[in-house]
């Protein structure tokens, strides 16, 4: 076995040193009935690299990849171009094969990029501080709801009808078990809900999303003012982080906690994971924030250095009194995010956001020209909702058969809600050429 360096000669000599005559003797605490006499049945023996590559390549070849077809699928994960240097740095063993930086003297590399990541997230979201990443946007949202409850000791939660249903479900599952009162609003595909009207003195927080699931944009300043007047925390969720290059920051609107899915920057689609949750808040709430934090300090010589800090919030110190049970973050995805965002820089991020928006505007115009098709949105960033004259799910299937991946039917996310069957979410990013868009228009015209 190529990964196992011990030879039989090594094993014999080591057993002699230990003073037992077989490895089995080392497993003496295992109940006899549970000791397997040999390898587990039903699984193949070890394979060489070539065989493993062939096996997995065969599976991979059965999937239709985003880069090879006109591709407009979004709904919380977006196909962007990631510079080649990002992945090359990620693959450096010093980053890839190191652990959580518990020994700061030999992990300043990891710690410094985490500090840079936290700063980038704070800048993007317009907030004071950010943590060193969460599993993803959805779990980050649930953590935010729990954090809000820790801050204001209230129990009622209002979820916007523009919130991604996966996020809503994760909040319902995770916070519901804690006994919180979750009030999810109906799908707000018309961008018409009035959340301020729902807030009261029992409300812990209200969770909104921008752009919303349906692509709608809103200014939440008034909502934040109304919420703060009632002691309610406002959690703003961003599932397409590139939008923050063009749209006003949640911080500037008054958000108390901002959660983003960071996949769009630095990370591939990966069929949904691993992704990276961004989590930012105001200074005053920092000790209620979940997740790992990197802080600046000095070393014995007075030089600037970085350490994990405020770990007294965390499970390995506080155990059942911790702010969260989280132990693992999404370090490598955060590194990808940080490197890509460093390459983009101010000019690149703003430019990328503008290209995304321009492509979406262009596509929306083209689609509006199709008979029976209308764009639902007034404003949007790089994704919008269209109303079709037929069921969207069927149309998407027919287009997939033509090797066009047209978007996400709203009914896939809301199978139980009536009246949404003809809605389709369509995303356009910098990867979409005008030819791609024309292919979608032609394809739609054919199948409608």
């Amino acid at each position: 076995m190529r990964y196992l360096p011990l030879t039989d000669a090594d094993r014999s000599s080591m057993l002699a040193t230990i003073g037992v005559d077989s490895v089995d003797a080392l497993f003496r605490d295992v109940p006899d009935h549970a000791k397997l006499p040999g390898k587990i049945a039903g699984l193949p023996d070890h394979m060489g690299e070539l065989a493993v590559e062939r096996h997995l390549s065969r599976l991979a070849a059965k999937n239709v990849t985003a880069s090879t077809v006109p591709f407009f699928v979004g709904a919380g994960a977006y196909k962007h171009h990631v510079p080649a240097s990002v992945d090359q740095i990620l693959l450096r063993g010093e980053f890839l094969t190191s652990y959580t930086p518990y020994q700061p003297e030999v992990t300043q590399g990891t710690l410094q990029y985490l500090f840079e990541f936290q700063t980038q997230v704070a800048l993007l979201t317009g907030m004071d501080v950010a943590n060193a990443s969460m599993y993803d946007g959805a779990t980050g949202t649930a953590e935010a709801v729990l954090m809000a409850a820790r801050v204001n000791k209230r129990n009622k939660v209002i979820l916007s009808g523009g919130l991604h249903p996966h996020y809503r479900e994760v909040v319902e599952t995770t916070c519901g078990i804690m006994g919180m009162d979750i009030r999810a609003q109906a799908p707000d595909w018309k961008n018409a809900e009035d959340l301020a009207a729902l807030l009261d003195a029992e409300t812990s927080c209200v969770v909104v999303q921008t752009p919303s699931l349906f692509g709608h944009l809103r200014d939440f300043t008034a909502l934040c003012d109304a919420a703060h007047a009632k002691g309610v925390m406002v959690i703003v969720v961003v599932t397409e982080v590139v939008s923050l290059g063009l749209l006003p920051s949640p911080g500037s609107m008054g958000a108390d906690i901002v959660v983003c899915e960071g996949q769009s920057i630095g990370n591939g689609l990966n069929f949904g994971g691993p992704y990276v949750g961004l989590f930012a808040t105001r200074d005053k709430f920092v000790r209620q924030m979940p997740g790992r934090l990197c802080g600046q300090t000095v070393d014995a010589d007075g030089k600037r250095g970085f350490v994990l800090t405020l770990s007294t919030r965390e499970q390995h110190i506080r155990r059942e009194k911790a702010t969260s049970n989280i132990c693992t973050n999404s370090g490598l995805c955060a590194l990808a995010f940080t490197i890509h965002l460093s390459l983009l820089g101010e000019q690149g991020l703003v430019g990328l956001a503008r290209i995304n928006h321009a492509n979406a505007v262009t596509l929306a115009d083209k689609l509006s020209g199709i008979k029976g098709v209308s764009v639902v949105n007034d404003g949007f960033f790089n994704e919008f909702t269209v109303k079709l004259p037929k069921k969207a799910a069927k149309i998407v299937s027919k287009l997939a058969a033509k090797d066009i991946l047209a978007g996400v039917p709203v009914s896939r996310l809301y199978p139980d809600v009536e009246g949404l069957d003809d809605l389709l979410l369509i995303a356009a990013t910098e990867i979409n050429s005008v030819e791609d868009m024309d292919a979608l228009v032609r394809g739609l015209e054919e199948v409608l």
């Binding site: 196992l4 993007l124 693992t328």
Partner: protein, 495 residues
């Protein structure tokens, strides 16, 4: 060499990407004004690449040195797995594509699930948890749901041994359970008597790590499981140390109802400086119906993805734990690792991991104080008795290891012994490397005992930073860079 923060390297006017002009300048922002600016620094690609390359050089890693961090299973991360995860057919597919366009991805998840179920002997597995602690959450939620379904919602007490990872009690609390701690025995194990003394009809489950955090297999595990079951509770097993028994012991045979598997430990998906992880949870028949959404099933036209309770048939999923379908990238790596090892190789993994740990234990126990009689499982636990009177703390000792080129072991965990030093070599270290490590440890132990306190207190000497002031970091947290006021910039430039 010093490396400034990326923000301090800002070079306004430089670009790190070249983007085309937008196809239109028309905007449809629904009345919002474009953001005036973000405040990000600008650098050209060469400067970004050099910055992060140089940062990387400040890290220790498995690729460069033995990294015997107890409980963390820092084993070799094969690059084949990275290559496979980057196949466009896995890396470049969207979770919301039509299922007929991702049949290979669903098949992969199904195959990985088959391996996990077969290895553990369990009938079901929930794939979506994002990490070990997330898996614990999944397991405890399934237990919660099962108890509710049984009409026994009053069962809200969870038994957790003293030696448990902090995630165990934190997770239990996170699910609204109360935590009741089982004291550790003298021999580092949990006794069936201690458990029985705590059982009652308000007990939801026990959370037991096996092999436990002292690196020991719990010999009474089956009796404990039986007792808990008899009392109407479930047995959640923390699988963080599954590396020690994979292929040799099936958790199902120990009476386990739920166990998370850290793919980033046992199955070698890279730790990446803290994540991402992946924590699938195997489930017993009793808990299987409550597994969360989504999951893969064999449909009539291939594989189907069940995303909603209404499509779940007889199952009663307790909800959803994560956006989309789980850590696909980690699944590919883990399956590549499993295929590479096979049934024979995985059994050898456990054997060699345990052999390596016992070899370290046997070779050091005369100069360092072993906390418990051997044999141990995959890690060897020492405590600070051997340092008594020397003035050298476990922390000092650990820092001295750094100057010898080793990442330290885990310190001060588990909490059940004083000044714990937990060494996990893993199965991918050679005897030659272990012998060098043992030689160094003996040398350091002798040096400490000989009274060379100054050597330890001054360590590490050879690192980019000396010991860092963690107290200052926590007392006045500085969690982000802030652009210096113009005056400060001038002062800095004048230096």
């Amino acid at each position: 060499q010093e490396e400034a923060l990326i923000f301090e390297l800002d070079n306004p006017g430089a670009v790190g990407v070249d983007l085309p002009e937008p196809v239109t300048t028309k905007t449809r922002l629904g009345g919002l004004s474009p953001r005036p600016g973000v405040g990000l620094p600008q650098l050209a690609e060469p400067d970004v690449v050099r910055h992060y390359t140089r940062l990387s050089q400040k890290n220790f890693a498995i690729d460069t040195t033995m990294y015997p961090l107890g409980s963390c299973t820092m084993k070799h991360n094969p690059r084949l797995n990275e290559k496979m995860a980057r196949l466009p057919g896995f890396g470049d597919i969207h979770p919301m594509q039509p299922v007929e366009t991702v049949q290979g991805a669903l098949e992969l998840i199904d195959q990985l699930a088959y391996w996990l179920k077969t290895l553990t002997g369990m009938p079901a597995v929930a794939m979506s948890p994002g990490a070990g602690a997330h898996g614990e959450l999944c397991g405890l939620m399934a237990i919660h749901a099962a108890l509710d379904a049984r009409g026994e919602s009053h069962r809200r007490r969870v038994l957790v041994p003293e030696s448990a990872h902090g995630t165990n009690p934190a997770t239990a609390a996170f699910c609204g359970f109360t935590v009741d701690t089982i004291p550790a025995e003298e021999n580092g194990r949990v006794s069936v008597e201690a458990v029985k003394a705590k059982l009652g009809d308000d007990v939801a489950c026990i959370m037991l790590t096996n092999p436990n955090t002292c690196g020991l297999f719990e010999p009474q595990i089956k009796e404990i499981a039986d007792a808990v079951h008899a009392a109407g509770g479930y047995f959640y097993c923390d699988g963080a140390n599954y590396n020690a028994i994979v292929g040799r012991v099936r958790p199902a045979d120990l009476g386990v109802d739920a166990m998370h598997i850290n793919l980033h430990k046992t199955f070698s998906t890279p730790h990446g400086g803290g994540g991402p992880g992946s924590g699938p949870v195997v489930l017993s028949e009793a808990l299987a119906p409550f597994a969360p959404l989504p999951f893969v099933v064999h449909g009539k036209d291939g594989f189907d993805l069940i995303e909603h309770a209404k499509d779940a048939g007889k199952a009663q999923p307790f909800g959803r734990l994560k956006g989309f379908h789980g850590q696909m990238g980690m699944f590919v790596r883990a399956l590549a690792y499993m295929l590479s090892h096979g049934a024979d190789g995985l059994r050898q993994v456990a054997s060699d991991a345990v052999l390596n740990a016992n070899y370290v234990l046997a070779s050091l126990k005369d100069v360092m104080s072993a906390s418990f009689e051997g044999p141990c499982m995959h890690e060897a636990l020492f405590d600070d008795r051997f340092l008594k009177g020397t003035g050298v703390t476990p922390l000092d000792f650990a820092k001295a290891m750094i100057d010898e080129g080793y990442h330290p072991m885990t310190m001060y965990f588990p909490l059940v012994v004083h000044g714990a030093l937990l060494i996990e070599p893993t199965e991918t270290e050679s005897k030659r490397t272990l012998d060098q490590f043992i030689g160094t440890m003996r040398h350091l132990a002798q040096k400490a005992i000989a009274g060379d306190l100054a050597h330890f207190q001054a360590a590490p000497r050879l690192t980019p930073r000396k010991r860092l002031d963690e107290t200052q970091a926590a007392r006045k947290p500085v969690l982000r860079w802030v652009k210096p006021a113009p005056q400060a910039v001038v002062a800095q430039a004048a230096e």
